[in-house]
Amino acid sequence: MKYRYFIPTIHFGPIKGTTISQRLPLELIEGLIIGDSAEFEINREIFSNGEGILKEKKLLKYSKSKWVNLEAENFIWTNLNNDNLCYLETTMNVTDGAVMHHHIPGYYVFYTNKLSKSYLSCGSYKYGNPRVILQVAEFGQWLDGYPCINIDKDIDTTYSIIIINPYNRVTNIEIEIPELNISLKIKVKPKRTERVDFSEIIDRNEWSGQVYVYGSQRAVIYFVNHKISSFANITTIEHPDPFRAEKTKLPRLQKLRSSFHTFLKSKRDDN
């Protein structure tokens, strides 16, 4: 197949005082370009509280098997004065030429600030996730989770769930903690980001366990480990672990095909 765009990616935006640094994986994108030349239009937009607060458009050229203007590769933005949570939406359209896949290869963005250590996070595809299709087919709804939310009030650490709604419709999601029989319904308006701190809904000094999040319309979810006393002091941002609808058993021949494919891929990668 030939494509003229990559599926947009969503990243959690930097909190106030933090810089987000995105470097597109051009060395991997290069391998997806059909032919030796292409031109891309890269749009980066920060949304907060339902509105776009920053918009940037850059052109990136690949000519005779070389990247020409590398300044479009990087996006660096410091959130100086926005107290609200935000997210970054990155679209990459092919204005000349074509690519052979519409999923951009995985890459990290970095978050740095002057007060604490840096952390990184991978993006989430805005749509086109095969796991979500299987979930809706099997369970009738989208179903994400995280098996290890940690709270320890003695060492001032907790987790928050970040819910990003990058779509144009309101999304209603349910957060469930099966072990503690806790459930919470959240409504997130379009183009907004909400946060729920688990230390505020779990009445325990110390707890580790499973959380689920689901709904009829998908939202982009991240889990953040941070200080209870300060959300600004973040240790890590992680994506959820989807509840997999795929079966625990598979045909032996399929497993053999899969092993052979893995073997060939590893041989190719070794070279």
């Binding site: 074509a98 940690n150 580790s208 998908r218 480990n225 997999r244 609808a245 045909p251």
Partner: protein, 319 residues
Amino acid sequence: MIDSLNQDKYICYCQKVKSEDFINYIRLNNITDFNLACNRTGVASKCSACLANLEDIFILEKGKYYKKPSKRKIDKKLSLMQSVINKADMLSGQTSFKLEGIVPILYNSEVSTWLVVSNFYPKILSKKKIPFHLMCDIFDSSGNKVKTINKKILPDSNVKICLTDYLELDKNKIIISGSASIVRYSNYMGSRGSTRPHFFYKTTGSMATLHTQDGYLKNLFMSLANGTKTEKKILFIKNIGNKINKISWKIQGSKINIKDSNFSDNFNIMPNGSHILSLPQDISDSYHTNYIIKSSERIKTYLIVASESFDSISVDHIG
């Protein structure tokens, strides 16, 4: 892609629209606008996960890059190929899907590594619960196996293991590595669920979790943003091969002298052993430092970012 589309009952499960219905609508109404096709048929208006598959169909049907193939021809070809594969799969019998992964163990007197495998279910799936099995081999940094753990994880329970309880503490070292090889599977038929093994580092100020992962490589390129000068960036490397692994690394494209051993080096890792490589930042570049790592055998790598005193540690897959 077409292969999987034809196996699915619907192209859009939310709206219960079949792929042939979508194709027929495009053909009958001569639709050339993808958004219009979606709006009129109602597909991709809810969870939107099917958008990419819909676009594949639309490009095959209306795209300018390919000569339009006959749907009958595709169906006929695929159905014959698919039926042969399906038959062969059926005759081969079934086996459990085994999810494998590596845990990068990190420890000292104040840092410990915990493994967590959950088998809790959300209330919407209360009738589909099955048990899982966990196999865990723990290795020290030299590659010696120090412990094997086998556990059955019943529905609505989880397993938490402090992996560093089985490793020796060396008080002369600031931080020590080890590793664990994890296999998770079920002998029962059901959904694979959300029971992917996770691990976290418990420190005096953080408990950041990550899922285990497999996937190995020999060459690694990393471009990392420069953080505060005091933070520590560490590359955890496990030797997956069964020979001594010769590793070399350097900073790429730096203005600093890379012959300096602080900015390039070589070392060996024993089979099943692990190593923690402290990564210097390229102070000549204010934003990023690029690293190149090469190995003679396959390796599994994780990037660890820690505060100066190791009271806040995060870990991510890299490569």
